[in-house]
């Protein structure tokens, strides 16, 4: 489990920096797909591990994109909110049977709600920090929404592509 998550950590950073950052979606959407790592951390991950790994994940992205601190701040906030979001959605589903969040185990509706809430939180912080002013407020809102949708689509595609049934 550790190995799998470490590989995902590195792979997502490289994918983000080398592929996604060089794509252009009309200037409005900036999919920060690297946070897929935080989405998929196992349920039982200790809080401090989650916060620290998210911090370094964001910081690594920052090093490549000349935006020191922005991705780190957004990722740490997302990791912090994750347990809250999980508790919020707990009433409908039981987590005991599976190790980590996933579309196949917990259903597409659950995953979409879970992922979109966290992605929206992350993108709101990231893109607001980037603009750092209230000028062009609605433009920023539009950017946040379109980017979040783009990231969500990527997350679902990744779920479908890389699904392997857990061996128990």
């Amino acid at each position: 489990m550790y190995l799998k998550n470490s590989i995902r950590f590195v792979a997502l950073i490289l994918f983000q920096v080398l592929v996604l950052n060089s794509l252009n979606f009309g200037g409005y959407a900036y999919p920060a797909f690297y946070i897929y790592f935080i989405l998929l951390l196992p349920f039982e991950t200790a809080g401090w591990v989650m916060l620290l790994s998210s911090f370094f994940l964001g910081l690594s992205i920052d090093f490549f994109t000349n935006s020191l601190g922005m991705n780190a701040a957004a990722s740490v906030f997302m990791a912090f909110s994750r347990s809250g979001v999980l508790n919020l959605l707990r009433s409908k589903r039981e987590y005991e049977l599976v190790a980590a969040p996933g579309i196949m185990d917990l259903g597409i509706k659950w995953f979409l709600t879970y992922a979109f809430m966290l992605i929206l939180l992350h993108h709101t912080i990231l893109l607001s920090l980037e603009v750092f002013s209230f000028a062009g407020f609605f433009q920023t809102i539009l950017r946040i929404f379109l980017s979040s949708v783009a990231t969500l689509v990527l997350a679902v595609v990744a779920q479908v592509l890389f699904y392997k049934p857990e061996k128990t």
């Binding site: 920096v17 950052n21 916060l51 620290l52 920052d62 000349n66 935006s67 701040a73 990791a79």
Partner: protein, 276 residues
């Protein structure tokens, strides 16, 4: 004391969160101080090296367009070459090398990372301090201006793109020589905005906009774009001109970095002006 420690330990998740957020925000604020987010780390040889080796895959897709641009530029240079001219009257041709002092030095470089989809866009080049690149040098591509160098490491340099919130380029209308400032409003990476053109100027759609040479960074006469539209904002004394960039920033691959040999001298004069 023990109680405080127990309290912190019990809520370590929250305190760690606050601590990490504070670190992040300090980094954001500190790196935002001048000329956008300049981080020496980001131009460090490590990230630069990764971008160069792995990023070269992506450059294959841009090769066709950049080759065309380079070929066109070559043709232009051939046109200027002395071999392309026939000496018609030997009496009027007199070459005196002491008459011309070189003012700009061009260094070619390759783009190893680039962005167009952020509010603040930067590029990284594969040339750095060792190749003579220093801060505040201009960067141009064959078909338009690209930006200015904001940070250098030994092997790489970081360039603030024209499509950046902090970018200001002194530009002028080629037809009327009226000088304004080119900024980018963050909407569309193919369109810039030219401000500070006074109202008495006759504007025409399609006019070329070139660098003015007033900033001591860009040489005069590099193409930026063409006038696509212009309007007068309510109560303003100046035009707001929409500029269509001639260059597609998503496709720049090879650029020239320009060193202005007189930059220091001119800046020194300006500090005297400011003192008096």
């Amino acid at each position: 004391m023990r109680n405080v420690l127990t309290f912190i330990w019990k809520n370590h998740f929250f305190f760690l969160f606050v601590l990490l957020e504070i670190i992040s925000l300090v980094l954001v604020v500190k790196s935002n101080s001048y000329q956008g987010s300049v981080i020496i780390n980001s131009t460090s040889d490590f990230t630069g090296g990764i971008l160069q080796t792995l990023g070269s895959f992506g450059s294959v897709f841009k090769l066709r367009d950049s080759n065309t641009a380079l070929a066109e530029e070559n043709a232009r240079f051939h046109n200027r070459d002395r071999n392309s001219y026939i000496i018609t009257d030997t009496n009027t041709f007199y070459v005196n090398d002491t008459l011309y002092e070189q003012e700009f030095i061009y260094v070619s470089a390759k783009v190893i990372s680039n962005s167009t989809n952020r509010r603040n866009n930067y590029l990284k080049l594969n040339k750095g301090r060792r190749h003579g690149i220093t801060k505040d040098m201009a960067v141009v591509a064959p078909n338009g201006v690209v930006g200015q160098v904001i940070e250098v490491s030994d092997h790489f340099s970081s360039v603030m793109s024209v499509i950046n919130k902090h970018s200001r380029v002194s530009a002028k209308l080629k037809a009327s020589n009226q000088v304004g400032t080119l900024i980018w409003n963050g909407n569309n990476y193919r369109r810039g905005t030219l401000v500070d053109i006074p109202l008495h100027v006759q504007m025409r759609l399609g006019d070329s906009i070139i660098t003015s040479g007033y900033s001591h960074i860009f040489p005069e006469g590099h193409l930026i774009g063409v006038v696509e539209d212009y309007r007068i904002e309510k109560g303003a004394n100046f035009y707001t001109v929409d500029v269509a960039f001639t260059i597609d920033y998503n496709k720049v691959l090879y650029v020239n970095v320009i060193k202005s040999l007189h930059q220091k001298e001119l800046q020194q004069l300006e500090t005297y002006e400011n003192q008096n």
